[in-house]
Symmetry: C2
Subunit: 548 residues, 2 copies
């Protein structure tokens, strides 16, 4: 027997309809790519997005067609998203930090038909124009004045399209499982793979992240998503901010400490979200300028592990609460959030810190398990490492065009590629990427844990730990160190720094000083490249063994 409630498909156009109807005059403020601060409202964004929908229809875009965006966080980018998704086309967000080869690969793989770009990226598109045969039309997200410097043949002007088209168009009305968005993984192993979000998955992710224990945002918030819409959907904020009717502040391309601080103070930002690097830059700027944060209450940090110094800095110097979040392109992206439960909430601030540094717990809608190599569940004791697997209505089921084959286990869980622990409070902590974990004598050593401690050495700028082949133990850790400018150091100094802070058997067998530790497109250490560079390296302990 089926229930008799209304049939109301979960399509994301309804989110902007809601914002227009009930929060129409709420502001969306952008630092435009052209420079000035631009102010608009949800009602105006709604109308302009509808005009864009008609423009896309005029360009021959059909439901299911991929329309790409290569753009910063601005009101125009929001308009493009809803204009594309509202008519059942697929919004494919391109990450401008990818290498040009990857960018071309992704555009071709997605078969993008129309591409929206900010002025910033016109040169790179022009350079690679011949390599993107599927792209029939480029739209530059600027006005006629901005177009004057654009030399891309046949490029259209965003503001012209808005002006020339009617806002009279029907949105939605299709199956809620219709594809809405496409985002490729950063592809540290093999080619990037596409995650094809549905309207339903985006809508459910929005509802879940609106919860008090996830983003916990409200109509009283002023939200600054520094996390880019081009990478993991700005953690869904382009959906959740209009969903709650919060004022939205878009930083454009200026993500340095001074620019972010200026926006926070001038617009009264109460809530922000970004990767640790952005917050580190902000803290440094604030300290240098003796700046204050008079309105900011909460920041959510994800993308990589949050350094303790950032949590303390925000808390002790600025009275801002930091929440650690974890997720990935494949989880839409928010998976867990380190929001205290009742027990942890009763602990003192120092004890709570231990949990704030973990990636956190799963909201309703994310199932999570830890398993060993045989896919057997492991205990949630806070110390047992295992592969982290997740399941839920906004977790990937398969990659676009079937890349990577069958990616779910027999219980329907997706392997995140992370190695983690889960404690008795349900707090998950990533200890490593599965491919980076060092398997020594059948036990696992976390490369990240060693790195985090090693980088605390006053002479270290960057540290990386990889596993090197060992005849007896299979693998043993090697620490690579890039020193700060002008510093000199010895292997012994670094080993002494680690002593007592990690298990003795985790101590690296060698320390190698390097002049470069390469970072990937998302700012994380590129261990694949490091391993390539270290090919031919032999552990001193392996040599001893071999010659013994």
């Amino acid at each position: 027997m089926l229930g008799l409630m209304q049939d109301w498909p979960l399509t994301v156009d309804k989110i902007l309809d809601h914002a227009k109807a009930w929060h129409g005059e709420t502001e969306v403020v952008s630092r435009s790519v052209e420079g000035p601060i631009v102010r608009t409202t949800y009602a105006a964004i709604h109308e302009r997005a509808k005009r864009l929908s008609n423009a896309l229809k005029g360009l021959g875009v059909q439901p299911g067609d991929r329309v790409a965006t290569l753009a910063w966080n601005t009101g125009r980018h929001v308009e493009a998203w809803y204009g594309i998704m509202g008519i059942g086309a697929v919004c494919h967000t391109l990450n401008p930090r990818l290498f040009e080869d990857q960018l071309c690969y992704i555009i071709n793989h997605a078969e993008d038909k129309v591409l929206f770009t900010d002025l910033t990226f016109v040169p790179v598109l022009l350079k690679n124009r011949e390599r993107m045969p599927t792209v029939k039309q480029v739209v530059v997200m600027t006005d006629r004045e901005g177009m004057k410097g654009v030399d891309y043949p046949g490029a259209l002007c965003f503001e012209d399209l808005v002006e020339q088209n009617s806002p009279d168009v029907a949105w939605g009305g299709f199956d809620e499982n219709t594809a809405a968005g496409l985002c490729y993984t950063s592809g540290t192993t093999g080619n990037p793979k596409g995650v094809l979000y549905s309207h339903r998955s985006n809508f459910l992710h929005t509802l879940v992240t609106m919860g008090s224990d996830v983003l916990g945002i409200s109509a009283r918030d002023v939200i600054l998503p520094v996390v880019p819409m081009f990478h993991a959907n700005a953690w869904g904020i382009a959906f959740s901010a209009p969903a709650v009717g919060a004022k939205l502040v878009m930083p454009g391309q200026k993500l340095d400490g001074a620019s972010v601080h200026e926006l926070i103070e001038s617009e009264g930002v109460t809530f922000s979200a970004a990767v640790p690097t952005v917050w580190q830059m902000l803290l440094t700027h604030l300290r240098e300028t003796k700046g204050r944060l008079t309105t900011l209450k909460r920041v959510v940090i994800g993308g990589s592990a949050v350094p303790e110094a950032i949590v303390r800095g925000f808390r002790d110097e600025f009275g801002v609460d930091v929440t650690h979040a974890w997720g990935m392109t494949e989880t839409s992206p928010l998976g867990t959030q380190a929001t205290p439960n009742a027990r942890i909430d009763r602990l003192d601030a120092e004890e709570q810190l231990r949990f704030k540094l973990k990636q956190g717990r799963a909201p309703l809608g994310i199932e999570m398990k830890l398993v060993d190599d045989a896919n057997q569940r492991l205990p949630h004791d806070g110390s047992t490492f295992g592969k982290l697997k997740v399941k839920g209505p906004f977790v990937v089921g398969e990659y676009f065009k079937g890349d990577g084959g069958d990616i779910l286990d027999e219980e329907g869980f997706f392997d995140t590629g992370d190695v983690a622990t889960i404690d008795a409070d349900g707090f998950m902590q990533i200890t490593d990427r599965a491919k980076d974990v060092i398997k020594s004598g059948g036990e696992w050593i976390s490369s990240i844990e060693i790195e985090n401690i090693a980088v605390g050495h006053p002479k270290a700028l960057l540290c990386a730990v990889i596993g090197a082949a060992h005849p007896k133990w299979d693998e043993r850790p090697v620490l690579l160190v890039k020193l700060k400018d002008g510093e000199t150091a010895t292997k012994e100094e670094f080993l002494a720094h680690l002593e007592g802070k990690i298990a003795k058997w985790w101590t690296p067998d060698d320390v190698v000083f390097v002049d470069d530790i390469p970072l990937g497109a998302t700012g994380k250490i590129d261990k694949k490249l490091i391993r390539q560079r270290m090919e031919g390296y032999v552990l001193p302990t392996a040599k001893e063994k071999a010659t013994a």
Copy 2:
């Protein structure tokens, strides 16, 4: 093109699975019907609910069969809900405050097969046993000790069923549109009609109400739902509390001020929800005993309009924030909530109060419109009255067995039967029930607004306003007053009390003193009965007119 995210049906069993997995040791504390406080956990409730599922299967319950509950808010009631819904049967909550005829009508209409009852209600069931032929089995929610006084032939003992059955049973795995719950409207006009909730509608209602601007509850809350599970699903708290992992405190049958206060203080309740009467009793108790509220932070009030004195009392005497909510059986039930937006949040407390007394704004998932008799949309100016219509994934589509026919308009909206205004901030305020609004000379007069002012007269215990036929104006208002014990008053005193507080043309044409103002099963004034009793009444102004 369809998205490629996981297929994860929204079935409510997953809510309790989540609570068990991540908040398994979180307590559920009940004031049992037998008397003592009983403590359990989500993990234990999960296991016991699974045992009940097997018990129900053993009793021949099939997917789609209706299983009724006639019970107070307790942990056992929660177990029954999930045990029933988990296997695709339909949990039909019976309201013990209904008249026996209505109760029998509803049980027969629903064709309930098994009926769970608290000890409290065994006598009424026994008395009406012959009138409920579909009920094959009665289960009394008590232990073997409690069964000693039960003389219902063949009644089963809840704890026996739990003990005798295995927890090994599969939950869910069916279409998310499968019926999960059934609740009948109070039926002030005609027979009660059934609202058949689906797993999807309950799940989406849960996610929406978890939002910061709706219930805003978290794993740090201790939640006391005084609102009964038997009426409008305890505002969904039996779903949303486990969904966030909050400690749940169930009041059983004792809803008086002293009992509620004792539970709040002994269990550290931070959040509660109830109708105004309950809060009035609590405030009275606190004032009489000089009691304090040391942990309570927020109460949500709905079911009928919140008197200003309650909001002020909680705020000024106890530092507790009151949020007004509106909904109905047909909206699962939460429709709107008077949570401030950014603009209102900046007003001072007195100005905010004006909005706190409104029924509030719609979250994402509730579409709302005001229309006139011709179904044309009316402006949101805060003063224009109109019929309130709603739409959304947890709003009724049709009543059980098609009762009432086609209940949606051409845009898919459901007519709430309320008359309301909506202001520029999107705050809706109920001004009357459509059938109670007084249509005088083509304009509408709110009976409720006059009642609320009239009842502020120091001699008044209860007031009701109805429309009486008038030859010139169609209808004119009549005020019925039930005085406090020992008081005497005149018509002129009451009219003078209203003067200047309502528009002159709203002034009742007559004041009638009565010894009874009847209340319906949900505690609201029964105007249908009042109108029956007033049959034959002629307005003095109508007589004047007639004899003029």
